[in-house]
Subunit: 673 residues, 2 copies
């Protein structure tokens, strides 16, 4: 067993879910601290802290997750609850969520006590369930005691669950300095380290887990403990992909590509297979590349990110088109109606992008993170914080919204409950994605905009800012310097791609001089000798806009979507007064030349800026037998219903859809016929 | 046990897979006989008879299906092969295929002997395996002897497999008069009849099989044996849908709609769930309605057919959009790239449509059958007759055709081998779908066009025609009266919907007089006192055409397809000389205003008429990091690549795709950007 370095002095606000080590090859450091005190994300995080996270223990108890650990502790071999081999990971992810929340300076004392009490109780449960060897997985301990450990790697999820436990332990140690979870995690990691290695290494297993996750967790554990051998083991797992598992079938769930085991990571040219598996693997690979600086691996993760974004990402930032294997489709295969877009896959995308942001310092990674957070992630939890979506379509057809089993519904928990605690841990760790400092200490980057504070130890001394904004309702972000050293430093503000040509900035009320300001690749850099009280006003362009897709995206050809700032909008049936409830949405044809309006709706969906558009509604097809029985027609026949009733559409942010009654919904609206 | 009526005198050429009984409420009778002696279908049927069907016994032996019956006969309880509970049905469907082929007057003596020998051998195998009770299902006899019969109805497929056995037995008896298979089937049907019935009937089971099939089989058995109680039991099963099975899960495979158990058939407003299950059920319901004349049930099957065709059918006639549950999508959810379009579902559609054709006499049912046969069904088997497709996409993207597991491949057999013998039985019974006589005996209908003969006993005496045509290569169909009674009768020729305004006809070289000819709802009726030697020339319009979809079909908005006559065309990468093999197909934009050409290619794909079109090819997107990283753009930005290289496309019939090297393929081609 490895001793946890006792000299570690945690700063409860520094270092989030990915903290490059002291020798890392990262452009940015995670030494900045940010708080979110008011506005959009403060409210979403309040609900997460007051509703979602507190409900976790009860949900986990109901689903049997806690009982499984009690059974394992009692060395029972029957009674396993839930049935999935990855059942343990739900608790682990909840623990990670609780740990980040505990580290948030905005968490009040009562909540803090409650969180600490649960973590302590669950840590004891885990320690009790852990075998003397360090092994810990209640499915194999209780439900399948006859199966040798690590012998069902394709579907067993033993390393996957271990990875989530390690991440929880790192979060707990990083935010509190406490070691009760970390002790369990280190024992488990050491057991894995003794068990896995290349053929000839004397370790009994040379394969990989069918579900990546251990890779990123091991690198984080190395960062937290200083034990570089965990990074080496992570690197081994990353490199071992490409023929490690035995594959008996060639299609669907069983195909090698599903597991990203068809090719070595370095040779892959496109993301493929199960989306969460793919992105957890790439997050881990990015972590390894960050620590080792290995150029080929870095090139591979950058290339695969670019491929994913250019060809396999939905407008919402969601990824994974297929229901059948929860997987990526082929390039440009992005159907709106059958967009699987698992909530966990969007979260995984954020995690992968963040690691690349740290590694490269490039703004586009945080651009995608912003889009994904506001749309593809946030849609996964109800505004009330107690109901979740697993898959997130961009289109629900007329007449199907209220049919059970036909359309995703927000529910309190899932039998396969990966998404809810994943949302909780992302939201509780969200401030860590807001700001960084460059590795050389000369620049402070603000990646995301929220009212609160940002601070970082720069080379010339501590720099701190107060941030005030009503973003994304309004486009103005006000930043006030509250601490600074003497030397000049750069304040880098991310300008989102949709405002790249329409931003404006002032420093202390005046345009900055040409030598003070530069925009390059999404970073607006203001370099000067800052003084306390200096104010920066950044204005981003929140005019609503119509957006078109690459013409290769077959599924939405001839359609436009409505966006405003970082928000993707959707049209829900019940907001359209001239339509029967839940009907007629698929007959709307929007006119992008007529422009868009905005309406403030403070009472609607927690307060939104609605967007209005001009459209017409095609006559509904006659379902009777007198209508043409065949829905295809010669091109010479022209449009069957060129006219149609004029309609003013009201669109609301996509993240808020399905929070009222079930109804039809569209993100992409036809513009032609 | 029911005695088989000994007085039955089979006419080996009359009565195909659905033969309405003497008291049926059908508009048409299946007393007509047709032969196919040359041309398109003769060649496809030759390959079926000489390659596909003869390979069946070997494939069934390799897959273990035959061994399972031997094991069951030996009362063994281990060693079950294949693993699926519906394993037996592959043999049953092959037996049905062999029986129809045996009944084809074009089958030579050697083939006949070979088929009869196999049928006899397999009938003995089945009889040996059958339990004293009449029960027969090797999965439950050998693999699951501990499970009580009919206790796993949701997934057990016991009645499904029984249905296929009954259909095989009916086919064998109908074509040969022999009873060895029918004896087994009747014992099994009687056992089912004793076992299933309404609560309170004293029969132990009141539920349904999770996979319909028994319904249509029982009606056919009633027709063949005269035992109306089989039709009553079929009616019970049809009516029992809507809450019969216990459903624990609400999504995907487990949801009630998957099994069409969410609603009674009479109340359903749209086809839903697993496509083959839905269509076998509706075929059975149509059979019941045909025999009973029950108006509500008839109305339901007509309504559901119309709904399916108007909103849930692909251009190819294929049905079932979803991979995840092999099911129907929602109305207008018809993606080209993820069209599951299971071969069996297209076959089931033909079977359902044919029953409605017989019931109503309406031409549109055979219009859809023609489209489905030439496209959605025929694509399921290679031109060589020895390789099959299970799912049939209408789009294979650039770069994925040669990636194992990413795109369907033609293979010699499947582990789940439902489709190959299903294709065999449809092709061997195909002549039965060509002609009918009206129930009143006053009209002979020709539904499909093929060189051969058509004959039917009309009220005024036997009527017979010789048919000569090179359809669908050419549009002329020549029909010569070879037998006729004295009284006038109507010759009804189906005019496909794509030629509804462009057909022409002559009788004995002259335009028929106005009182002799009438076109109504797809039937061109020529009524006169026919004489032997009278000739009718029908010309259909085979000019190639661009086809558009209903604007509600989101997936192909802004696209056109190429069709010619009943054939849907596709563009395969390897026919496009200016493109790199398998690349660049997704960047083609077709110009529908430039017209289409045809090129006879007798050496290509067994002889096809290729169609040429004018297109341009968009510049390929730059995958490097210098290209825009985000594939969505403001509507104000215009088309990213308005120009492009001019290309002449060559399209080939869709049924023939994937018969050469693997390459990209598209049916729907963008017309705009």
């Amino acid at each position: 067993m490895t001793a946890v370095p006792s000299a570690h002095t945690p700063d409860p606000r520094a270092g989030g879910p990915a903290r490059p080590g002291p020798a890392a090859h990262a452009a940015l450091s995670a030494t900045a601290r940010a708080t979110v005190t008011a506005g959009f994300w403060a409210e979403r995080r309040r609900v997460n802290a007051e509703v979602s996270i507190p409900q976790g223990p009860e949900r986990l108890a109901e689903a049997g997750n806690l009982e499984n650990f009690r059974l394992a502790a009692a060395r029972a071999t029957e009674g396993f609850q839930g049935g999935y081999p990855f059942q343990d990971s739900d608790l682990h992810k909840w623990l990670e969520a609780a740990a980040w929340q505990l580290g948030d300076p905005g968490t009040d004392a009562d909540s803090r006590d409650e969180l600490a009490k649960h973590i302590s109780e669950f840590a004891e449960l885990l320690a009790g369930a852990q075998e003397d060897s360090g092994y810990l997985n209640t499915y194999y301990q209780v439900a399948k005691p006859e199966v040798p450990h690590f012998s069902e790697l394709r579907w067993g999820h033993e390393l996957y669950s271990a990875g989530h436990l390690i991440q929880a332990a790192v979060a707990h140690h990083r935010t509190t300095g406490r070691t009760e979870l970390l002790d369990v995690a280190v024992r488990l990691a050491d057991h894995i380290d003794e068990s896995f290695g290349p053929e000839g290494s004397g370790r009994p297993h040379d394969s990989i887990d069918g579900h990546p996750e251990i890779e990123t967790a091991l690198v984080e554990l190395a960062r937290e403990t200083g034990e570089s051998r965990y990074t080496e083991l992570a690197g081994y797992f990353v490199d071992r992909h490409g023929g490690a598992l035995s594959h008996h079938t060639q299609q669907g769930h069983g195909r090698p590509g599903y597991f990203q085991d068809h090719l070595p990571v370095r040779e892959a040219t496109a993301v493929t297979g199960h989306a969460v598996r793919q992105l957890y693997l790439l997050a881990g690979a990015a972590d390894v590349a960050t620590e080792t600086g290995e150029p080929e691996l870095r090139e591979a993760v950058e290339r695969l990110w670019a491929e994913m974004v250019a060809r396999q990402t939905y407008l919402t930032g969601g990824v994974g088109a297929h229901h059948s294997d929860e997987g990526f489709g082929h390039p440009y295969e992005l159907p709106a109606d059958r967009s699987y877009c698992e909530t966990c896959a969007a979260i995984a995308s954020v995690q992968f992008s963040w690691r690349l942001a740290l590694l490269t310092g490039e703004a586009r990674y945080s651009d995608l993170i912003e889009r994904t957070l506001y749309n593809g992630v946030l849609c996964g939890v109800s505004l009330s914080g107690d109901r979740y979506l697993y898959d997130n379509p961009l289109h629900v057809r007329d007449g199907y919204a209220d049919q059970e089993g036909e359309t995703p519904r927000r529910v309190p928990w899932f039998r396969c409950a990966c998404c809810p605690p994943n949302l909780m841990r992302l939201l509780s760790s969200l401030p860590h994605y807001l700001a960084t400092a460059s590795a050389d200490g000369g620049e402070l980057q603000v990646h995301q905009y929220a009212t609160g504070t940002v601070a970082a130890p720069l080379a010339g001394g501590e720099a701190a800012l107060r941030v005030e904004t009503d973003y994304p309702r309004q486009g103005r972000i006000a930043l006030t310097v509250t601490a600074t050293g003497q030397d000049p430093w750069a304040l880098a503000l991310r300008v989102p791609h949709w405002s790249a040509d329409t931003w404006s900035v002032t420093v202390n009320g005046a345009a900055p001089s040409a030598d003070e300001v530069a925009l390059a690749d999404g970073w607006l850099r203001l370099t000067r000798a800052w003084a306390e009280g200096d104010t920066v006003l950044l204005d981003l362009d929140l005019a609503p806009r119509f957006t078109l897709a690459d013409p290769r995206v077959d599924a939405v050809r001839g359609c436009a979507a409505i966006e405003r700032g970082p928000l993707v909008y959707c049209v829900e049936g019940l907001d359209q007064p001239r339509l029967a409830p839940g009907e007629g949405l698929d007959d709307l044809v929007v006119d992008p030349t007529a422009g868009l309006g905005t309406v403030e709706r403070p009472q609607l969906l927690g307060g939104v800026t609605a967007v209005t558009a001009t459209a017409r509604r095609r006559p509904r097809p006659d379902a009777t037998r007198a209508a043409p029985w065949w829905p295809y027609r010669p091109a010479t026949a022209g449009t069957p219903d060129p006219a149609g009733e004029p309609v003013t559409l009201t669109a609301v942010p996509y993240y808020a859809w399905a929070n009222r009654e079930n109804c039809a919904m569209r993100v992409w609206l036809p513009v032609g016929e």
